[in-house]
């Protein structure tokens, strides 16, 4: 996976994770173009996009768009499931997650993402294991503080 973006229906970026080194300028340009393209698509349309030499896989959950960039030989369907698994993890952690959870606790959302995907590859597919790792870190830091 090359990068993952989360943005709202209004086009506001909520989360961004880049797995390839790019300059800030490029990142901004890509984000702007992609948000525009994805938001312009109709609900019945295909969840995949060809964009430059990349494949974009996106899915909308309530008011949030989750959007991943993969390479052409990657599997689009399983990428959709990666998005879904991430949403499940967020949901389990926050307890029926909504956009505001992610806005106000975006660092938590990042922590969860880092336990699930690492360096652009799926790190752990077991939901239980991911949440255990997060809880462990949360618990330890609370004991200290």
């Amino acid at each position: 996976m090359q990068f993952m973006l989360l943005f709202s229906r209004q086009g506001k970026l909520r989360l961004q994770k880049w797995y390839v080194p790019l300059s800030d300028k490029e990142k901004k340009k890509i984000t702007r173009e992609l948000v525009q393209t994805v938001l312009a698509r109709k609900p019945k349309m295909c969840s995949f996009l060809e964009w430059r030499d990349l494949k974009i896989v996106y899915k909308r959950y309530a008011s949030l768009y989750f959007c991943c960039a993969i390479e052409d030989q990657d599997n689009e369907l399983i990428t959709l499931e990666i998005i879904h698994r991430y949403v499940e993890l967020l949901d389990k952690y926050f307890g029926s997650v909504c956009e505001l959870d992610i806005i106000f606790n975006f660092e938590k959302a990042y922590f969860i993402l880092d336990e699930f995907l690492l360096g652009g590859e799926v790190q752990e597919t077991s939901k239980k294991n991911v949440l255990k790792a997060i809880e462990q870190a949360d618990l330890l830091q609370e004991v200290r503080s």
Binding site: L13, D24, M45, E50, F106, E124, S126, D138, Q141
Partner: protein
């Protein structure tokens, strides 16, 4: 307690949602000190972008003050970081905080450290200089006893880590592979995966530990190791074939549901794992029947088990189908996979349909009938409202294009092209259309019109190869001269029409194409005079929207037309106008035109009509300067010495080796100096300032670097049919298709056939025109006749020959300029003297290089003696071979053959040759062969000896043409009759066309004994890359220059076997076994050079560290370094 607070806090935002007008009341209710919350609410309350900007700038300046204030505690710092991350996500620059993020990761407690690390991973990228400051922190945390700290450190390492600092953490991470906690092991594996991606050499030695990770008892660790394996197998699948069994077993277990339930996803067992394994198997089984056989069972089971109607099962199915089609085929599996593709294509879900189309593009070349099965779906997708589906369909059609359906498919592509705005799509599509048009164009008018569309839409974004190829195609023409003229005439006419249209702007590139064509081929026009064309060009020249580059093309066209024109009013006006132009380039062209115009005779000879393909005669030797040179010499000037000669003389005067590092002190521009002057002038830019415009035009067409899009595929023997036939054929055949289609439909579904609407009929008509020419003839709706023309445009071979001729001449020059160092004799003596003294190590090192260099140039042939497969060419040795090979009884025969060989050897004594080996034979005859490694080719010699007492007649030896070889029979070989007990030889010189590891050369021999039937024997010999590698004798400077000029490089560390673990023995092995030339030795580094015949050079730099040899290859050919590396590894590890 804190746990509860945490929960309340996270629940709060949820409450905001329920309160209408979230801003005010919710803010009042929020008890937390979180200033982030305040910021976010502040932003949401704003209405304009401008206000937001103001607020955030304010926030940032507050933060800037806060982070640099000494009183800020780490806890506050953590809070600031979170806000900084937020600001940066909104697109504002927060770079002042980067250093504080690193500090926070370094100094904070767990809670703060976590945020610090997160901020670093979000702010910085791999090559950011600040990242170096993080290394110490990471090292410290990796050694921590706290599990969470170690996890954090591993997480950051797997995301961003500076490549040059890998050695600092590598041992620590390796240790973590044995950690008791699976989460640590898993993250360590992923960190190593990251290292493998950015610096594969550094983790090479731990490959064995990856195997341990693959066998880990924890599924997560095993799954993580698959990422590394996938990568490694992608790079080199042959090295991991032995693991196929393990991967198959793992997949079997996963599919069989043997994993813990935790790993299930929507009751499908570990889908990510399954997909990764299927990908790995795909790479392993490609083109390998034996390995593929191991996986048939498990693939079958995967296809069978994936029955649940859920996205994730489709994901697995898709991967499975792809694998089934990629590995060695098994018909039963292919059938099932084809059914699966059907499921995708026919699915009402749009995502699945898309993947179905994608799968079809993968498999269509193997199985075109699949496209026929789904043709109606494909037609529907072609008009799908979602452009992505449409585009994928076009991609599919692009792959099934042939001479019969080209017009329909290109029309569809053009329609899509006109709608799309994105540059990437346009470039891509335009390239495809141009490629198809060149390959399959049905007639001239269609071709020119299609290319016009390509140029006007693709304009200035398309690949420059497209106009270049198009012009070359027009200029070189095809086999039929009259047709060429028609094509050119049509192009000229269509451009004149286009230029007549008012107020239309064409892209610059299109105008350049037009001006070239008009300049070259306007003479073909009947009605319009050159003056009229010039007037049109002049009008364009006066247009302000046209770039000066295009204007240069236009003036060049006018210049070419001027000699043909009778009156020259406009030309004179043009000269007047542009000789005062501010653009120097245009002014130059105008002056050239002016002077040529004054001398009509010269102009006509300089700009002949329709000679753009004729070769230009360039006096490459600059002979017109000879008299000047002779004069200077007679007045006592020193004769000219080329640069390398001067350098060598300087070196020999100094009497020492050059210990300077190569490369740095040479400018890369020096490299071009070795090429022939002709080559340089050919490469000159079209708008450059050389004297003759017309000549420049022609030369620019012959640029060698142009990609040959329509090269080989388009070059097929022409079949009988002419264009006239085909244009008549389609209407007739289309009718028959419609009938056929109707019949099929009726058979399949009678009720549907009755209710067929007009629209459907249209679709079927479209289908029949699209899918014509696909599949076998037995398919119902196929055009009855075979593919009459496959490729419309072929180019003449003439130009190709000219280019190759040029290359060889350049090659000769290169070779002649290389000469081996002459001073080594002296050095060797020097070395021997010193060795007797045996004083210090430094001298030994020095001596070694002297020895190697000395023996290289002085005694290369004697070294050959030690080669097991080679023999020093000497008649006496050869006689021994002959005795081994001939039965002693036929001494006369062996004598005779010896004498015939003696003559052969006269010319080959200078070269090494292999032993004689028998390749086949009968009682009466024996065929044996040996190879002579000549400097310019491999000479294969086949000896046919008649062992019987009577004559052999009609002896004929033929070598089958092989894909990678160019084989030429040497003249003067043999009469078809071989007398009793005599030997004849056949010689073939073999050249390699592109690098490869091993190839096979086969052939057969026929002969007839007196009064008996003819006999035919087949034989084959294996040729390896090494047969075509020759030492490249160059000086160290030349090496430095070449090194800088080569783009393709490959680096690899090779472990040496014990017997070779030293520089001298390694060098010897490389020189003997691979025939590399030792250029220089500098300390523990060596420079070697070789060339692949005919003239692809490859350079090798190596360095010895203990028993590891770091090899670094560079070459002008992209694949050669890899093959050589492979050979190197073989000899270094093997013996």
């Amino acid at each position: 307690m804190s746990d509860i607070v945490e929960k309340t806090l996270t629940a709060l935002p949820g409450l905001f949602l329920q309160t209408p007008g979230a801003g005010g009341p919710a803010a009042a209710r929020a008890p937390f000190s979180s200033r982030l919350g305040g910021l976010i609410r502040g932003i949401t309350a704003l209405t304009s972008k401008h206000e937001e900007e103001k607020l955030i700038q304010q926030e940032l300046s507050n933060l800037k003050a806060a982070v640099s204030a000494p009183t800020t505690t780490l806890k506050m710092m953590k809070e600031c970081m979170v806000r900084l991350i937020y600001c940066e996500m909104l697109g504002y620059d927060a770079s002042f905080g980067y250093i504080h993020a690193i500090k926070l990761a370094q100094q904070g407690n767990l809670l703060e450290k976590r945020v610090g690390y997160l901020a670093v991973s979000l702010f910085l990228h791999e090559s950011h200089e600040l990242l170096l400051l993080l290394v110490n922190t990471v090292v410290k945390d990796l050694q921590s006893t706290n599990l969470v700290e170690v996890c954090m450190a591993l997480t950051i390492v797997s995301q961003i880590f500076p490549q040059e600092m890998i050695p600092a953490v590598l041992p620590l991470i390796e240790d973590k592979l044995q950690h008791s906690k699976e989460i640590i092991r898993r993250k360590a594996v992923l960190a190593l995966y990251k290292f493998h991606l950015i610096a594969p050499n550094q983790v090479q030695h731990i490959h064995i530990k990856f195997q341990k990770a693959l066998c880990d008892r924890d599924v997560g660790v095993m799954a993580a190791s698959l990422h590394i394996y996938h990568r490694m197998i992608k790079e080199n699948s042959s090295g991991y074939k032995d693991l196929t069994g393990s991967f198959v077993t793992i997949l079997k277990q996963v599919v069989g549901g043997k994993l813990p339930v935790d790993f299930n996803y929507h009751s499908v067992p570990a889908p990510w794992l399954q997909i990764q394994l299927l990908r790995i198997l795909r790479l392993l089984g490609k083109d390998d029947q034996r390995t593929s056989e191991l996986m048939y069972d498990v693939l079958d089971e995967s296809l069978r088990r994936a029955e649940l109607n859920h996205n994730v099962t489709y994901a697995i199915l898709f991967e499975c189908v792809h694998t089934v089609y990629s590995i060695y085929p098994k018909s039963e599996l292919l059938e099932k996979a084809a059914k699966c593709i059907g499921k995708f294509v026919l699915s009402p879900k749009i995502n699945l349909k898309y993947l179905g189309l994608k799968a079809l593009t993968y498999v269509i070349q193997q199985d075109p009938t699949l496209a026929l099965q789904h043709q109606m779906t494909i037609i529907e997708c072609l008009d799908h409202p979602d452009p992505i589906i449409k585009r994928e369909t076009l991609e599919l059609l692009y792959r099934i294009t042939n001479a019969q359906n080209i017009t329909v498919i290109v029309q569809k592509m053009l329609e899509y092209l006109h709608q799309s705005k994105e540059e990437y799509i346009i470039v891509n599509l335009v390239g495809k259309i141009a490629e198809l048009a060149e390959k399959y164009a049905p007639d001239n008018a269609w071709f020119i019109q299609t290319m016009n569309a390509v140029f006007s839409v693709g304009g200035d974004v398309m690949n420059p190869d497209i106009p270049n190829n198009f012009l070359r195609l027009l200029a070189e023409g095809f086999d039929d001269e009259t047709e060429d003229q028609q094509l050119r005439l049509y192009a000229v006419q269509s451009y004149l029409t286009l230029l007549d249209v008012e107020n239309v702007f064409y892209p610059q590139r299109f105008l350049q194409v037009m001006s070239w064509v008009l300049g070259e081929y306007s003479y073909l026009l009947d009605k319009e005079t050159p003056e009229e064309v010039i007037t049109k060009l002049y009008k364009l020249l006066m247009n302000d929207s046209i770039s000066s580059e295009t204007k240069a093309w236009l003036i060049a066209a006018v210049t070419k037309l001027t000699p043909q024109a009778h009156s020259s009013n406009i030309v004179e006006r043009l000269i007047q106008e542009f000789t005062v132009s501010l653009d120097t380039c245009l002014r130059q062209h105008a002056f050239e035109l002016k002077h040529l115009h004054e001398n009509a005779e010269l102009m006509k000879s300089l700009l002949p009509v329709n000679k753009s393909c004729e070769d230009m005669v360039v006096d490459a030797s600059l002979s017109f300067l000879d008299s000047h040179v002779a004069e200077e010499l007679s007045q006592g000037a020193a004769p000219y010495k080329p640069h390398h000669q001067r350098q060598e003389e300087k070196l020999s005067q100094e009497k020492v080796l050059n210990f300077e590092p190569y490369g740095l002190s040479f400018s890369s521009s020096g490299f071009t100096g070795r090429q022939s002057p002709a080559g340089i002038s050919l490469g000159s830019d079209i708008s450059g300032n050389s004297a003759e415009i017309g000549l420049k035009e022609t030369s620019s067409l012959k640029l060698e670097g142009i990609q040959k899009l329509w090269g080989k595929e388009g070059y097929l023997p022409k079949k009988e049919s002419k264009t006239g036939d085909e244009t008549e054929a389609p209407p007739v055949s289309q009718e028959s298709i419609i009938e056929n289609v109707d019949q099929t439909i009726t058979k399949k579904d009678p009720s549907q056939a009755l209710t067929q609407s007009k629209e459907e009929k249209e679709k079927q008509l479209l289908a029949s025109s699209l899918f014509v020419g696909l599949g076998s003839e037995s398919t119902v709706n196929l055009l009855g006749k075979a593919d009459t023309i496959s490729h419309k445009f072929r180019r003449k071979s003439k130009v190709k020959e000219a280019i190759s001729g040029e290359k060889t001449s350049a090659h000769n020059m290169t070779r002649s300029s290389f000469s081996s160092p002459t001073n080594v004799t002296y050095e060797e003596d020097y070395y021997l003297d010193n060795l007797r003294d045996g004083r210090d190590k430094e001298l030994e090192k020095f001596a070694l290089s002297a020895e190697l260099l000395g023996s290289e140039s002085l005694a290369e042939p004697p070294l050959v003696e030690k080669l097991s497969e080679c023999r020093r060419p000497a008649p006496s040795l050869f006689a021994d071979d002959m005795e081994v090979f001939h039965p002693p009884r036929s001494t006369s025969a062996s004598l005779a053959s010896e004498s015939s060989l003696a003559s052969l050897l006269e010319e080959t004594t200078d070269h090494m040759h292999s032993d004689l080996t028998e390749v086949c034979g009968t009682e009466a005859m024996s065929l044996s062969s040996y190879r002579i490694w000549k400097d310019d080719c491999l000479l294969m010699v086949w000896l046919v000896s008649n062992k019987s007492g009577s004559e052999l007649e009609g002896v004929n030896l033929e070598i089958a043409p092989a894909e990678n070889f160019k084989i030429t029979e040497q003249p003067g070989c043999c009469l078809p009759i071989i007398e009793a007990e005599n030997t004849k030889n056949f010689q073939y010189s073999v050249q390699m066309e592109k690098p490869f590891t091993e190839g096979n050369l086969s052939g057969f021999i026929n002969y007839q004994m007196m009064n008996t039937h003819a006999v035919q024997l087949e034989f084959s010999v294996n040729l390896s890359l090494l047969d075509f590698i020759r030492p490249l004798k160059i000086s160290t400077e030349a090496f430095g220059k070449l090194w800088l000029s080569f783009a393709n490089d490959v680096k690899q560390n090779v472990k040496m076997s014990e017997s070779q673990a030293a520089l001298p023995s390694a060098l010897k092995t490389l020189r003997r076994k691979l025939r590399l030339h030792v250029v220089d030795i500098i300390g523990s580094e060596g420079l070697l050079a070789c060339q692949l015949l005919p003239s692809i050079p490859c350079l090798l730099h190596f360095r010895v560290h203990g028993d590891v040899l770091a090899l670094w290859f560079r070459s002008s050919c992209s694949t050669l370094p890899d093959y050589l590396l492979y050979q190197c590894q073989k000899v270094m590890e093997g013996s």
